[in-house]
């Protein structure tokens, strides 16, 4: 594997805090690299959840990207100025019963 030049970096905002990432990295990778694992609450039982399958199947890694909620972070790639928001605050009510 050859290393030609260091990857180009971009600035993203995670829950309001600015951070650096390599252009083209998946949003999930940037979150994991920043040590941010819990991304959301399960709407039924309120448990914390983080990325699981990494290929768009389980939908556990949904975050809000540039204001669009329910975005799968594993299939999205970072761009300069991207705003990423996780949703780990406790749920006001349980969805069922």
């Amino acid at each position: 594997m050859s290393t030609n030049s260091p990857p180009q970096t971009v600035t993203v905002t995670i829950d309001g805090a600015p951070g650096q990432a390599w252009a083209g990295q998946s949003v999930t990778a940037v979150l994991v690299a920043a040590g941010i694992w819990p991304l959301r609450r399960n709407p039924v039982n309120g448990q914390l959840r983080g990325p699981f399958c990494g290929m768009g199947v389980c939908l556990e890694c949904e975050v809000t990207i540039n204001g669009r909620p329910g975005s799968r972070s594993c299939t999205a790639h970072v761009t300069d100025g991207m705003d990423i928001r996780t949703h780990t605050e406790p749920l006001p009510t349980a969805a069922h019963g």
Binding site: L48, R49, F52, C53, M55, C74, T75, H77
Partner: protein
């Protein structure tokens, strides 16, 4: 609804841009047919030939250059490539496909004369206490992070489950600087019994590949523990420890910040099953596979299936099966052409099938009977093994009744994570002759944003 969508036409639609779909599309286009190749992802390649983003390729080099070359050939052959396009429904034996643009949600319709489902597979997980904790992931997730993004999934990684796939994942993790606390293999594959050797000798290259990985792991001092399994994961907001159970009853606790557990792959069969194709139980008895002949022809006239979605056999087999299906479609739709000789491809496919059968024998699945009652099985709806067992026992004694009674499998992943487990827990009786049930495939076969369906109604 169909009348409201933007439509397009092609001789053949290939659904899935992985190894099977790429090889098939190339043969079909070179044979003179118009081909549309559809993939939900924003790049071709599927999981095996997944593309490293261009900016990272510039810095770290190409990943699996064979994939780059194959994709180049497909584009050069003037295959109409539609990435970022989700196929969420089909009718008329697959001659009508319903699509959605992943970015805009815009709905579409494709009319074809034949359809090849090359939808691949996803990882098979088995529930254990703590498996929903953040930091517990599939091995494939760790592999993608390491190879695509150059990010180690953790600093103290535990890899567990069963299957040959754990080995390349471990090596990729070492390459990005992760420390592997242990590789925990449920079975004893690396001292194969004499009865298994007949199959291995026919695929020496594949065997050598595994040996190379094991050598790399040994050089890095990675412990490969065979006959051991994950009993439970622990942590508050994310995983911090895992209990490993050994065959002699010993339990060892390891500290970890990333636990990767996988038990091979589940074929992604929703599209052929939606179209009513005949199915049969797979060798594990936990999946329903489309019944196909040597060329991927199904019981549905005009529908073909190739690659892992017809049964897990790996990348080489997927490529060969994709080519065979393409030749069958060419014989059907372009009968004026001299048919290409396929005996060599068929021989190679049979040989690769034998290797896949060997892997099935070396890495058998564990029983579902010992999943503790309080373990969550359905991650989306938070349904436990005990709730599913109880529903099955109190009269909801088939899979669909159990699903309706407990909501297991009704969440956004549509049962892709838990379906095989719910089926095993809800099934009456047991043994190799019991037909594996599975959740019915219904439209939309992949989750579709509500906004897409609402906007779709407004398309003139």
């Amino acid at each position: 609804m169909a009348d409201l969508m933007t439509g397009s036409e092609a001789d053949v639609a290939v659904v899935g841009g992985g190894p099977a779909g790429l090889h098939a599309a190339l043969v079909l286009a070179q044979g003179g047919l118009s081909v549309v190749l559809l993939d939900e992802s924003d790049t071709l390649g599927g999981q095996y030939y997944k593309r490293r983003p261009a900016q990272l390729t510039a810095a770290f080099g190409d990943f699996r250059p064979r994939g780059t070359e194959l994709i180049r050939q497909v584009r050069e052959a003037e295959v109409v490539v539609r990435t970022g396009t989700l196929v969420w429904g089909a009718e008329d034996a697959g001659r009508t496909l319903f699509t959605s643009d992943v970015r805009t949600g815009a709905l579409g319709r494709i009319n074809t004369r034949a359809t090849l489902a090359a939808t691949g597979a996803y990882e098979r997980s088995l529930p254990f206490p703590g498996w929903t904790l953040p930091g517990v992931v599939t091995p494939g997730f760790a592999l993608h992070l390491a190879t695509m993004d150059r990010v180690p999934v953790g600093n103290r990684v535990v890899l567990a489950g069963t299957g040959p796939f754990l080995l390349p994942v471990a090596c990729a993790l070492l390459e990005v600087g992760a420390r592997i606390e242990a590789l925990v293999e449920l079975n004893h594959p690396y001292r194969p019994r004499a009865s298994a050797l007949g199959g291995t000798l026919r695929q020496p290259a594949r065997l050598a590949e595994a040996a190379r990985y094991l050598l790399t792991l040994a050089r890095h001092g990675v412990r490969v523990e065979q006959g051991a399994r994950v009993l439970a994961a622990y942590g508050d907001t994310q995983v911090t420890a895992v209990d490993i159970g050994h065959e002699d009853g010993r339990v060892r606790r390891l500290e970890t910040d990333a636990l990767c557990v996988g038990f091979g792959f589940r074929p992604s069969t929703e599209l052929p099953r939606l179209l009513g194709c005949d199915t049969q139980a797979d060798p594990t008895g936990t999946e329903q596979l489309p019944v196909v002949d040597a060329d991927g022809t199904t019981s549905v006239d005009g529908l073909y299936v190739a690659g892992d979605c017809a049964g897990i056999a790996g990348v080489q087999a997927a490529g060969v099966r994709g080519q065979l299906a393409a030749h069958a479609i060419l014989r059907r739709l372009a009968p004026e052409r001299a048919p290409a000789p396929v005996a060599g491809l068929r021989r190679r496919a049979r040989s690769l099938d034998r290797f896949a059968a060997l892997a099935d024998r070396l890495y058998p699945m564990p029983a579902t009977a010992d999943i503790p009652d309080d373990t969550q099985v359905c991650r989306c709806e938070g349904v436990s093994a005990g709730e599913i067992r109880q529903a099955a026992e109190t009269g909801w004694n088939d899979l669909h009744g159990t699903k309706a009674a407990t909501r297991a499998g009704m969440g956004p992943c549509q049962g892709r994570e838990c379906g095989h487990i719910v089926a095993a827990l809800a099934g009456r009786g047991s043994g190799p002759n019991r037909a594996a049930e599975c959740f019915a495939a219904r439209m939309p076969i992949r989750p579709l944003p509500m906004a897409a369906t609402v906007e779709g109604q407004e398309v003139p």
